[in-house]
Amino acid sequence: MTSASFDFWGCSEMRESLGLRADSVQQLLERLETVSADSIYYHSVRCLLRHQVVATPYPDDFASWIDSEVREPALAERVAFHSPFDFPDIEAFREHLIGVLDEHVTREPWVGGRVPHSPFRFLRGHLASLPLNVTVHDLEELRLALAEVDDGSIYFHTVEAVGRLGKARGDFAAWIEDALGRSALARRVQEIDPYVASLFEVRAALVRAVDEELRGDG
């Protein structure tokens, strides 16, 4: 990517079952101590790639399972609030997650052994990312491309850029600020939160922000 242009990348994911399951919150806690970082990343970040049209009540798989299968909404809420984006790396997030579960089952021990409707199954994802040969040079071209690329591309540039590639900002915000010099729009784009929205909603919010900037009322 040159400083003047933006190259869109797309991505798709193959999910792999690890053959590992947790039959209670206590077991989830124990499994989280040893399961691969890839799997924790999958269930807490990569799951956003599956929120294409509808954002589920909880953003991550752990909280969703605790709410719908264990029926412990208070714990689901505590698990859901923080994401790996709030921590320096996935290992720090793992420690946080274990701490939240441990504290809850210590305080309310009957929760730890409660039998869920169905077990939690650990997966991991294999992401293939590749350039789409879609290159834009200004805001008008960005607006057109945002409407045409696949959901994986929206995910890749807003979530994966920060989550896996460790960038401080999403790719769209970075390019709008660094290449186009539009700081206010960049801030607005950076505030679009993919953790609490579907990719459909993220795309719509991006398009709306660029449209308003183009009309001069951003």
Partner: protein
């Protein structure tokens, strides 16, 4: 009349934005890759249906596909049916004679079939022993379309060594996957929006077909399309309908096919007809296996589509209804829970009363039905169409090639 061969461009405006570009880009590095599929039938059944639609699309993007079919004598089919049933939990013995017939058919097929390809995908247990003939450098993948969560141990012990010789296995859901020494990938099945079962139909054709089936359209229409199988709970649907009828006038259609050569299906159908009795508003339709356009018309005419399964594989009838923009009520079982987001793209229910309540709620709220239908269609577009399946297969080939 056979359906026209699909082309990728036909899906422009139907598949999600950008997905055709992604498909072509994913395929670029696989140009000339040879990809062989082996299953046990070229016609009939979900596997043959999806292969007949997917392989032309793979060909079009540069993957050189072939499709071979393993066959055998009556003993072979008796053995594979027993393997199929016991892998899904049935309690019946797999006799030494059956094992022998099963392995002998594979031996014969191995001498007859051309098994040379960069990647070989073996569908279901029938051709699994062919893996013994794999050549160096090729990748062999076992695509399992059935639920292996509770296999009969003796049958699984017999089959597992064959499965262990593949490079990887693929299951519809994590719940269906046993613990294996090879990677287990997950790929949902899909529907083809351009097939006769799912393509757009003019409203007049919908009305004509539904009328020809004897189903009135003067009141709200509730529909369940499925085999007459106790696990699809047709009796529960009738009981839910009767609870609803205490509050609202409506019509129920239970439509299914393929019972003629299935003793258990015939028995269930008889019980369903007995339960329906002489109620003129319950229509039990036994349709031929190629009645795709009639099913399409019924789904489009329905006010609400129900799939109140107690146990379910993936449940693609849910995807079919979602794609047609219908509000769907599904039993919270198997793949239905992966397709419907409860209260958003449909309702998940756990009982007859829950089903009846969801029907009453949706019948009384056209705005909710419409909102749910729109989200259901978009959700199906992004996750349940053949174009997503194509992306998954291309990604799988890239993963194995790397």
């Amino acid at each position: 009349m056979s359906e026209p061969r699909p082309r990728l461009a036909d899906y422009e405006g139907i598949a999600p934005p950008g997905s055709l570009v992604l498909i072509r880009r994913l395929a670029e590095s696989l140009e000339g890759h040879t990809f062989l599929h082996v299953n046990s039938t070229r016609e009939g059944g979900g596997v043959a249906e999806i292969l007949s639609r997917l392989l032309p699309l793979l060909d079009e993007v540069g993957i050189r596909t072939r499709w071979e079919v393993i066959d055998g004598e009556a003993e072979f089919y008796a053995a594979t049916k027993r393997i199929h049933n016991t892998l899904q939990g049935a309690d019946a013995p797999l006799t030494p004679q059956m094992k022998e017939a099963y392995l002998a058919a594979s031996e014969r097929a191995a001498t007859r079939l051309d098994l040379v390809a960069d990647t070989v995908m073996i569908h279901d247990p029938q051709p699994a022993p062919l893996v013994a003939r794999r050549e160096d450098g090729s990748r062999w993948i076992w695509r399992c379309h059935i639920d292996l969560s509770h296999p009969q141990r003796r049958t699984w012990t017999f089959l597992a060594p064959h499965v262990g010789r593949f490079d990887s296995a693929i299951f519809h859901l994590a719940e269906f996957s046993p613990r294996l020494p090879i990677p287990s990938y997950l790929i949902h099945p899909s529907i083809d929006p351009l097939s006769d079962k799912n393509r757009e139909l003019p409203p007049l054709e919908v009305e004509r077909r539904v009328a020809a089936l004897g189903v009135p359209l003067d009141r709200p229409l509730l529909l369940q399309v499925s085999r007459f199988d106790p696990f699809k709970d047709p009796m529960g649907v009738i009981r839910a309908f009767r609870l609803v009828r205490q509050h609202r006038d409506c019509v129920l259609v239970l439509a299914g096919g393929g019972a003629s050569d299935d003793p258990e299906g015939t028995e269930t159908l008889a019980r369903v007809r007995e339960e329906a009795g002489d109620d003129p508003d319950i229509h039990v339709l036994l349709l031929p296996s190629d009645a795709h356009l009639d099913i399409n018309a019924l789904q489009r005419a329905a006010t609400i589509v129900i799939q109140k399964s107690l146990r379910e594989g993936f449940g693609l009838t849910v995807a079919e209804a979602m794609w047609k923009g219908k509000a769907v009520i599904g039993g919270a079982a198997g793949g239905i829970t992966k397709q419907l987001v409860d209260n958003v793209t449909g309702h998940l229910v756990h009982s007859v009363e829950g089903c009846a309540y969801a029907i009453r709620r949706l019948l009384g709220n056209a705005a909710e039905r419409e909102r749910m239908g729109i989200l259901a269609r978009e959700s199906a577009r992004s996750q349940l169409l053949i174009t997503r399946h194509l992306i998954d297969y291309l990604q799988l080939l890239r993963l194995h090639a790397s």
